[in-house]
Amino acid sequence: MVASAVVKRFAGHTAVDSLSFSVAHGSFFSILGPSGCGKTTLLRMIAGFIAPDSGDIAIGGNSMAGVAPNRRPVNMVFQQLALFPMMNVGENVAYGLARRGVERAERIRRSAAMLERVGLNGAAHKRVDELSGGQRQRVAIARSLVLEPTLLLLDEPLGALDLKLREHMKIELKQLQAAFGTTFVYITHDQSEALVLSDHVGVMNQGRFEQLGTPQDLYYRPQTPFVASFVGTNNRVVGRCISRDAQIAEIATSDGWNIRALVHGSIGVGDAVEAFVRPEIATLAHTAAGLPAGQPHYGGEVQSVLFDGANSAVLLQETRTRREFRIALPQTGQFSDLEPRDSIAFSFDPARAVCYAARAGIAGQDA
């Protein structure tokens, strides 16, 4: 699938702003963005429910301009699944085949085979409302995949599920995609879904892609401050660049905290800067002597310990500025005995922290 310079405007605002991207055959592509970023509009344009104001979408080499949704080699799994309540599970899966004029016996055979592939053998005669959330999910996917689309669009299909089931379905979706080899285009506002599932992710904001890349790229090498703050957890520090060498800038916040971070883009001395420090790159120690040598070190006071199994972190306040800072706790169980108001030292490698020229309108606001 190739989108070239696709634009869609709604009454005064641009929902999708001249987007161009391509999705390789057989890959899992996610569009990740906050609500209102235009991702649903983009998906509906690919499905054909709305026409782009300009630009073109091509699927399998053919332009889709003027092709109605019922004639596109694209199927969609809707946010609320949109299973037909007036039909049983088998009829739901066979619906698209019936519309194509496939014979009844063949329809039943193919829909039963598809139900088996998604692990729902024997459910064909059940009513839709007899199924659990995860089973409905699978029916919705089976109903689309039975048509063997070139492209399967998924509109936040896990949004309505509870956390445990969502985690489970994430894995199942990835396995289904691998088993069928169909190209998936998946939209979500949940960065963990996008990172876990995708081969490539486009991070979308205000109708544009901020960054297109592999999940690893987005996480470790964010190109813009938006991506750095949207993908994963990050400590954001706003200040001014007071000096810099080829790679590392020294940043001073308005309340007098100095940190150093890798420069991304062009930053001059005196410019407003946004810096991001991942919680897991920082090292904790009870005293400054225990920190890695050669890194600038800081002192803090424990505010609270956020225990979450492997994702546990400590929230502390930098000693001089009372600035909040989040640091991941090592998985070894070390520091698990930290108590609020304990004094602690921390440091991080400036080469693994990033900074950007501050976005317009955001400079000076602190995270």
């Binding site: 429910f49 019922n70 199927n75 969609m76 809707f78 609320q80 949109a82 037909f84 619906y95 109903r143």
Partner: protein, 304 residues
């Protein structure tokens, strides 16, 4: 504290008391409706039922008999009018459905806010005028010396003014016009509850407009369609004014026969028997309609 044992002893009583009070208040709430129902519908009908099963053998002398019903089955005119009314009512109901469906679709799915309520008002406007005045308005338009025949002559479509009244088609126009709102309301409510994403999903999976209508929209709206059809059929079957005024004395509407028996012939026994036959017909048609559409009466009535 001294009263505590007494209070406890009274506890079961109090619970029964509360239940009794709840029943009393429910009964009081329902009382006006029940009184209304029994005084104005059940009592007169019981009386009519008794009337329909007797025969006058001499002045002020009556015997129980099935003579009234026998007359109906033996006299071809009555039969003919009965069947004619039933068939016309079914056709009028279907015509109303066909006309109301697109209107309901526009109100439920396409129009937004003000436009939707405006369309509803347009459907309601005919009811601001009394039925008699409304029907007489139709007569002014359609009679031989009326507006429409004159217009047809002016446009050289007909050479002389044509009498448009006193035809079956005219009765249909009047009946559909009167019934439209009662079809639109249940249709709108059932179409509004149809999730748009179901339509999109059908479209996405290759269904065209007609296939979506047949496989998704109509099955979803079936209770509303049935509800509207039942109401419109009952109203049409029992309508007296519209067939009489637009169809004339020869319109052969069964309510006219009932009217004639009660008022013209002063044969209340025969009129009562006709009344019950009409009630039987409308019940039979409703049951048949529910069977054919596979709907349950309770589900359908919740839509009306």
């Amino acid at each position: 504290m001294r009263h505590a044992p007494e209070l406890r002893a009274k506890m079961p009583d109090t619970a029964a008391d509360t239940r009794w009070r709840a029943r009393l208040s429910l009964g009081l709430l329902l009382a006006p409706a029940l009184l209304w129902l029994s005084a104005l519908i059940i009592l007169p009908h019981a009386d009519l039922a008794v009337l329909s099963f007797r025969e006058r053998v001499a002045p002020r002398k009556y015997v129980h008999s099935l003579a009234q019903y026998k007359t109906f089955f033996l006299e071809p005119l009555y039969w003919h009018v009965f069947v004619h009314t039933a068939v016309m009512s079914v056709i009028a109901t279907l015509m109303t459905l066909l006309l109301a469906f697109p209107i309901a679709w526009i109100i439920a799915k396409l129009a937004r806010g003000r436009a939707a309520s405006l369309l509803f008002i347009v459907c309601l406007i005919p009811f601001w005028v009394s039925e008699t005045v409304r029907t007489l308005g139709w007569m002014i338009l359609l009679r031989e010396s009326g507006v429409l025949p004159a217009l047809l002559v002016k446009l050289h479509i007909t050479a002389v003014p044509v009498e448009l009244l006193y035809r079956d088609a005219t009765i249909f126009v009047g009946l559909v016009y009167t019934s439209l709102l009662f079809m639109v309301v249940p249709l709108v409510s059932s179409l509004e509850s149809l999730d748009n994403s179901l339509i999109e999903a059908a479209y996405d999976m290759g269904a065209g407009g007609f296939a979506t209508l047949r496989t998704i929209v109509i099955p979803h709206a079936a209770p509303g369609i049935t509800a509207g059809c039942i109401v419109v059929f009952m109203l049409t079957l029992g309508n007296y004014l519209t067939p009489t005024l637009l169809g004339g004395k020869n319109s052969q509407w069964f309510t006219e026969q009932i009217y004639a028996q009660f008022i013209t012939r002063f044969n209340w026994e025969q009129g009562a028997a006709f009344g019950f036959l009409l009630l039987g017909l409308s019940t039979a048609m409703v049951v048949l309609g529910l069977r054919l559409s596979g709907q349950r009466f309770g589900d359908v009535m919740r839509r009306t």
